[in-house]
Structures are given as structure tokens and as C-alpha cells.
Subunit: 190 residues, 2 copies
Amino acid sequence: MRYRPEHKAEIHRGIVKEASRRVRAEGLYGAAVSTVMRDSGLTHGGFYKHFASKDDLLVESLHDGFAEIVGILARAAEQARPGQAWKAIVKTYLRPEMCDYPERGCPLPALAPELARADPAMRAKFVGELVKYRDRMLPFMPGRRAADKERAFFAIFSTMIGATALSRILPAQTRARVLASARDFLLRSF
Amino acid sequence: MRYRPEHKAEIHRGIVKEASRRVRAEGLYGAAVSTVMRDSGLTHGGFYKHFASKDDLLVESLHDGFAEIVGILARAAEQARPGQAWKAIVKTYLRPEMCDYPERGCPLPALAPELARADPAMRAKFVGELVKYRDRMLPFMPGRRAADKERAFFAIFSTMIGATALSRILPAQTRARVLASARDFLLRSF
DNA sequence: GTCATAGGATGATGTATATCATCCTATGGA
DNA sequence: TCCATAGGATGATATACATCATCCTATGAC
């Protein structure tokens, strides 16, 4: 055997990390195989030693992106006083830096339309990620019954996703107004 | 002269209409020159008799898409009782058909991330469209002062854009729950 | 009817890309 | 030290696309 056994896994993770960043920053088409490999310190040729297809890379990189944001939000929620967890999520999600650095943020404001247009097989995987996302956030949502919490999740995340996606089109000044409007609106509701 | 003078303008409009539909249905990359021309009943070669570049077509087709949705929403608002106009806008925007047929809907849930990633010159034009969009909707928004109306516009449209973008990823049943959650949430607020 | 011309068609060029066959080489076990 | 091999590199192939030079033809002015 040539390398330490963990070597391949590390390289694999590195490629996924790089793709995860690129995909959020530049869209599904922004993560070309050769570019991702070059920025991972490799050449394009070795790619298919790690992934069966480019779609596989996209699925893995989306998984990584969702895991990252869910981790950030869950941590914020767990550090908040009980009952205030959802407010901590809102404040964290709508921070200006979240908006300014899409490569480190939630994949949804960066990619939702492209995910919606993906072919059914891939979309099913994205739906799976969304279900995990929702299930992880649900306990922190306002409302008594499970159905109320789900409605709150949909409403709150719709607003946050839309505000982020919209504000990223706009120049800095207007951008801040959109984020603040959405945040104040959510915090005043429920 | 070969054709009636209006002929060229009609063809031009037809190409823009077709591109406008395609772009909303399949993204900025979905509107390839040859495809759009074929579906307009032409061949790809004549394209540059109508547009200086593909970017020009994109800008025109976005303008068309924004004009369409603004018209639909303004008409709904004007037919509502005064003070209820914003509710008519919410109900119209979040209709299931709006979500199911992106090619006839608002460009924002379909394209916001791609617009945000466009080069500065194009993005500036999209920002111009957004300003017109906002200015047209502002009179219908809830709130007394202009600043309140703008905040309401940002909050309401963020929620609607996010809900539409999110629900388009999801299967029909969940999709309906997202739309309903967002709609009820908005109608209960303000 | 003739013909100049603008709208439209054909086809070429160059670039970007996914995919994969093949080659190369560093590694660790013998 | 030597070698089998898996990880990685090179390069080929095929496709999709934007762009544009050039050609063709229907039209309406004469």
C-alpha cells in the first residue's frame, strides 16, 4: 500500500470541503471538476478515484454545507435561555457576515432554485437533507404542538432564506436594511 | 425593405418572452441561445441581429419577468379594499400555481442567487429592476411612514421569496404546507 | 418584373467542461 | 533492496455553448 490508510479519506474530505465552499459561493455550475481539484492541490484526472460522478461530489458537498450551518445554528440555540432558542437562531442566521460570505453560510439562500431544478434522483437527496435540517431545528422552534413548531420553522426559515437571497443582490447599504427588517419582523412575531 | 417595420420588433419581443420563460424555469444557464431561438421558431444564427450579446438578452428577459409579476401583483392590490391591498398581494404571490409554474412567476425565487452572483455591471441593472419593483409595491404595503412601508416590503417579500424557493425543492404535500405556513404567518402579522 | 437589402440560416471557431483510458510514481511489505 | 499497487497525473474524447463571418432569400420600392 502506498499511503497511510487515512490518506485517501483526508483527501476526499478536502475535495468535498473545497467543493462545498465553491458551490455555495458560485453555484452548482461554479464547482467545475478541474477547478475544485486544482484548489484542493490535485489535478482533475484523479477525481474519479474519489467520486463515481460529479453528481456524487455535489451531493456530498451539499451534505457538508447543511451539516455546517445546522451545527452553527444548533450551537447558538443550545447556548440561549430556553424559550429564546429560536431568537438566537434568527440572530445568528441573519448576521451580516452570514450574508456576506455565502461560502460559509446556509446552502439554501445560495442554491435553493438550483436544487429545485435538479433531476428527481438528486432532488430526493436534497429533500433528505432538508428533512434532517428541519428535524434538528424543530425542538428550538416556538409553539406548543409539533404542528405549530413545524409551521414556525417554515415561516421563520422562509423569511431568513428570502432575506438572505434578496439582500445578496443589493448593495451594502440596502442589504443591511433588508436583513434588519427581516430580523426585527421575526423577533417581533410569535 | 424586406418586412413590415414592426416585424423585427415582434420577433425581438418573441425571443425575449421565450427567454424570460426559460430563464425562470431553468435558470440563467438554462436559456442557451440556440434553444431559445429554436423555441422562438428561428435558428441560432440570427440571434446577433437582435441582441448585442447574450447578456443583453438576459437583462431584457429579466426586465420582462419583473414587469409581468409586478403587473399581476399591482392588479390584485388595486382590486382589493384599501388597507387590504398588501393581503391581496400575499395571497396572490403565494398561490400554489405561482409556485408550480416558475416560468410565469416572480424571477426572484427562481433566480435570486444567480442574480447575486452576476458580474457588477449586470447586477446593477438587476438592482434597478428591484428598485422599480419596490417602488411599485410600496404604496400597497402596511405601515404609516415611508420607512415603515419599506420595512414591511422587505419583510413580506423576503418571506414570500423564501417560501417559494424553499417549497419548490419539496414534494407537493410539504410544498403546500410551506406555502400555507408562510401565508398564514404574514396575514397574521402587521 | 427587377433588384437592393435586411432578416434569417449555415457553418466555423474557440472555449469550457465531464468523463475516462492510460501512464507514472511513491510507498510499505517482502 | 525490490516490487506490487493504489493514488495521482497526462492527455484524449465528446459534448455544449457563445460568438460571428458568410451566405441565402423573401420582400417591397421602383
